[in-house]
């Protein structure tokens, strides 16, 4: 069974002063699943994925990726190990061209293509997957908000990650863009596992094979969508039951 786990976190803790943002969380991700992380605002979702990506140091607990302990690995080394992270608040190189944004991502990932033709091919491929193929020459900061969100996702994809972490990716996207986003994410496994923080329950139910519900920094429930939907505690805390 061990080989079926991509990421395995145990007893993760992150307190901000007296605030228990993440308070003893266990989470397992399979290499080929879309795993949704849901919970009310302030539940600790962003903090938890920050711990997994290495942006925040865990105060206790351990994280293993593909069997290897990465708890003490700095964020940039985790990226090279195959964890890609997209920010809740869009973070792109606003003054650089879309192509230059993407080139930095392609060359920052674990698999590094050699030479300029390979780079161009790789960039074009990743942009095409998010529907920004014709935008390579534009300055990233001049793109529309929705396109900037898509560029952020494309940066994650260009890293060729084993695990792609998406923090509220559909926030502010138009309906058509959300539909395209769903197709994109559904096509990522089995090569890439996805950990998806998402408020749009329709997106969650459609994409996720498993759901973990977080509340006050603790795991309230974890399981397949049908079980989560039926869970009384989840209904009380979150689904507005």
């Amino acid at each position: 069974m061990a080989a079926l786990t991509l990421l395995e976190a145990r007893g993760l803790v992150c307190h901000f002063g007296g605030l228990r943002a993440v308070d003893g969380v266990d989470i397992d991700l399979a290499p080929d699943e879309v795993h949704a992380l849901i919970g009310p605002n302030g539940a600790g979702k962003s903090t938890l994925v920050g711990l997994l990506a290495g942006r925040i140091a865990a105060q206790a607990g351990s994280i293993r990726l593909g069997g290897r302990d990465i708890t003490r690995l700095p964020a940039h080394r985790r990226v090279r190990q195959g964890i890609a992270y997209t920010f809740q608040i869009t973070q792109i190189f606003a003054r650089l061209s879309v192509f230059d944004n993407m080139a930095l991502a392609v060359q920052g990932g674990a698999a590094r293509p050699g030479g300029r033709p390979a780079l161009k091919r790789e960039v074009a491929g990743a942009l095409d997957r998010v529907g920004l193929a014709d935008r390579a020459g534009e300055v990233a900061g001049t793109l529309s908000y929705g396109h900037q969100r898509l560029l952020e996702i494309a940066l994650g994809l260009a890293l060729r990650p084993r695990l792609l972490i998406l923090d509220e990716p559909t926030q502010g996207l138009a309906a058509a863009e959300i539909a395209a986003f769903k197709r994109l994410v559904a096509g990522l496994p089995p090569r890439t596992a996805v950990l998806l923080i998402e408020h749009n329950m329709e997106v969650v139910m459609e994409l996720a094979q498993r759901i973990t519900v977080l509340n006050f920094g603790q795991v309230l429930a974890s399981g397949p969508p049908a079980a989560i939907r039926a869970d009384a505690a989840v209904q009380a805390a979150y689904l507005g039951g």
């Binding site: 700095p74 606003a94 061209s97």
Partner: protein
């Protein structure tokens, strides 16, 4: 961001080369100094303009080159070529050492920490009077400034030498900022957090940029000592940390030739202002105000923004 840039740089170097024969003696002598200082500014631009590191401590790296070369020439009796190499290495090492500590901070804290290191260096130079002779400074003997039979105090000799150093620095800078490493430096300037989450180590990239920048400062300091035969504490003061920042801002941060343009302009502006009035700084201040109002990205930066896209 990519493509040529070699042509305009070669053009500038060609014009400077012609200056060896065409310039009147007064300007010919001025340009020697300007090219040496522009080498310093070009290096400063690598840290500040391209990597976004606002250092207020580069005088320390300039001084490391200045005194590194001077001591190599006087105490160790090395020939000018070796003294130049020693000063260059001293600048790079000083910058790397400062960087290891100062790069734990960012923004204003980084400015303060680098400033403090440079002030400590300046005080140390004053305190080590028996060797450095403090403010009075060391005057290098003529023997230390003879390079393969040529006299480094002769403008006809030091002009091409200064040009060769500046050209090497400028071309290396152009090559660097066009390279993959150069684009990662720019990524740190533009959005460090994003760059980190694309797999780049901010500390390593910034440390490398600072060390390269310090190497330039060291080379310029060493050349200054050898060509003008003097190393004094005033050249290690905070003024020499502010000046390259000013030159870069005037010429255009993040443009390859901006530091030279800024250095040239400020040199002649101060030269001209002091012939008019004793309130030189007032005139310089006014000029800077005009620049901030009409060309906030510096001269070349604003030109490039206005559509002169071939500027590197």
């Amino acid at each position: 961001m990519r493509g040529g840039g070699l042509l305009p740089v070669a053009g500038l170097l060609g014009v400077l080369a012609a200056g060896q024969w065409l310039l009147p003696a007064y300007h010919h002598a001025n340009l020697v100094r300007i090219m040496v200082l522009a080498l310093y500014a070009t290096g400063y631009n690598i840290a500040f303009g391209y990597t976004g590191l606002l250092s207020l401590g580069h005088a320390l790296f300039f001084a490391a080159g200045l005194y590194g070369a001077s001591f190599a020439a006087t105490l160790a009796g090395l020939p000018p070529g070796a003294a130049l190499a020693a000063g260059t290495a001293a600048g790079g090492l000083a910058a790397a050492a400062v960087g290891v500590l100062a790069l734990r901070t960012a923004g204003v804290a980084f400015m303060i920490v680098t400033l403090m290191f440079a002030q400590a260096g300046w005080l140390a130079i004053l305190a080590l009077g028996p060797w450095t002779r403090g403010d009075e400074g060391i005057v290098l003997p003529d023997a230390a400034r003879a390079l393969a039979g040529f006299d480094l105090s002769d403008d006809a000799v030091r002009y091409p030498l200064a040009l060769a150093l500046f050209a090497a620095g400028l071309l290396a800078c152009l090559w660097l900022v066009r390279s993959r490493a150069g684009r990662v430096m720019v990524a740190m300037r533009e959005n460090e957090e994003r760059a980190r989450m694309l797999g780049y180590d901010p500390f390593r990239v910034k440390l490398a940029a600072l060390a390269i920048s310090g190497t330039y400062a060291g080379a310029a300091g060493a050349a200054y000592a050898l060509m003008f035969g003097y190393a004094g504490a005033s050249l290690a003061s905070v003024q020499y940390s502010i000046l390259p920042l000013l030159w870069v801002l005037v010429g255009g941060a993040g443009t390859v030739a901006g530091p030279f343009v800024g250095c040239l302009l400020m040199f002649y502006l101060i030269d001209y202002a002091s012939s008019l009035t004793s309130a030189t700084l007032l005139l310089v201040g006014l000029a800077l105000l005009v620049l901030v109002l009409f060309a906030p990205r510096g001269i070349l930066g604003t030109l490039r923004e206005k559509g002169v896209r071939w500027l590197p």
